[in-house]
């Protein structure tokens, strides 16, 4: 019964936190660009306004995939707060990403297809890193369970897994859709091709995508916080610091190409992960 309550509270509170983080994001970004910026609650205004717009359908399947994206993302958040299996969480996150891609592919617009292809390349870039992160956690703890990471008295992961942490920061940039990796859709450049996958989503369905993005922010920051789960507040501070770091990188970096993103995350992210795991297994003798 207790578990149910935790899950329900997480489902309600996560988008509120995510929405405020998105508002802080817009405010800080505006300040970094020398502008005043919208109020912190602006994402909520946008969300409710979009809910009230009329529905324009371009394809029926699109909506099925959008609900799939939302439901899988919520499931991931529930997995995180109930401290279940990290490996399963990462596969569910993959499902969520694929639902979004199929949503993009389900209309005929070439821009939408372009965006969906790019989103696919993003998944190709971050999913292996996340899988290796789970493997690194296994090498350290001997278990994929998040409850094992958060067990009282368990040593923080960051000191032994810091190369993987750097790789996860790369994933964070991709997942938060920040420069240099905001390729399939972006929070800036509304007139450009980078808004591709959003082209055919409008009104309430666009609002649902925003909602899913808020869950996503909380989820990925939660994964970052796992690196220092004892005491958890240190992890949360690390996650918030990572968030601010992403905003600064977003504003000083230019957008790179898709090919560059895949090469960079594989060459840097995967190598860091593999070296980290190899060190844990070969030098320290494994779990």
């Amino acid at each position: 019964m207790n578990q149910w309550w935790i899950a329900i509270i997480a489902i309600i509170v996560a988008p509120i936190i995510g929405g405020f983080l998105a508002g802080i994001d817009r405010k800080i970004t505006a300040r970094l660009q020398g502008r005043y910026g919208p109020p912190i609650v602006q994402p909520f205004y946008d969300f409710f306004k979009l809910l009230g717009k009329s529905r324009i359908a371009t394809s029926r399947m699109q909506f099925v995939w959008i609900y799939g994206y939302l439901v899988f993302m919520i499931t991931c958040v529930v997995f995180l707060v109930l401290k279940l299996d990290l490996l399963l969480l990462i596969f569910l996150l993959g499902f969520a990403g694929i639902s979004f891609v199929l949503g993009g592919f389900s209309s005929k617009s070439p821009y939408s297809h372009f965006g969906a292809n790019r989103e696919l390349m993003q998944i190709l870039s971050y999913e292996p890193v996340l899988l290796l992160m789970a493997l690194g956690v296994y090498a350290q703890n001997g278990s994929f369970m998040i409850s094992e990471i958060m067990k009282p008295g368990a040593a923080p992961l960051l000191p032994s897994l810091w190369p993987i942490f750097i790789a996860v920061l790369l994933v964070l940039t991709i997942k938060l859709r920040k420069s240099p990796f905001d390729l399939s859709t972006s929070h800036h450049g509304h007139q450009e091709l980078v808004k591709g996958i959003m082209t055919e989503f409008s009104g309430p369905y666009y609002a649902l995508i925003n909602l899913t993005e808020w869950y996503e922010i909380v989820l990925v920051l939660g994964i970052v916080a796992l690196f220092w789960a004892n005491p958890l507040w240190v992890g949360i501070i690390i996650a918030l610091a990572a968030f601010v770091l992403e905003l600064i990188i977003d504003n000083i970096a230019a957008r790179m190409t898709v090919g560059w993103m895949v090469k960079f995350t594989w060459a840097v992210g995967l190598v860091l992960c593999v070296l980290n795991i190899a060190y844990l297994y070969l030098i320290k003798g494994g779990a």
């Binding site: 502008r35 205004y45 946008d46 306004k49 809910l51 717009k53 666009y206």
Partner: protein, 145 residues
Amino acid sequence: MGIINTSRIKSPWIMHFDNSSCNGCDIEVLACLTPLYDVERFGIVNMGNPKHADVLVVTGPVNRRTARVLKNLYAQIPDPKMVIAVGTCACSGGVFHNCYNILGGVDKVIPVDVYVPGCAAKPEAIIDGVVLALQKLSKALGVAK
């Protein structure tokens, strides 16, 4: 539904369409987005996609070719939507009014809610136009403002 109506006033996303203006008004529209005027303060975001937009900002006189495009864009914006004609050309045809290819102001093709005159319309006037459009919308929705 109160919160949705309030949000409609607080988050107008605009889409800018250039019919056949001399580009004077377009530059003024874009100037509104710069740090000096920063319309994002009011939640105004310049969208490139009619499916995400609430307010259609049109510059320049309608000619025979752009009339079709304009109608199409207007149809693609989900309700509720507003149209703002920016610049004398968009209001009435302006200096181009009796050219052989010009139909006249934007209101010859789609219903216009707010006219912002000026050649070119100043950024302040454009922001004022958006505010006026929002007041009109809030009156129509019955939200006290």
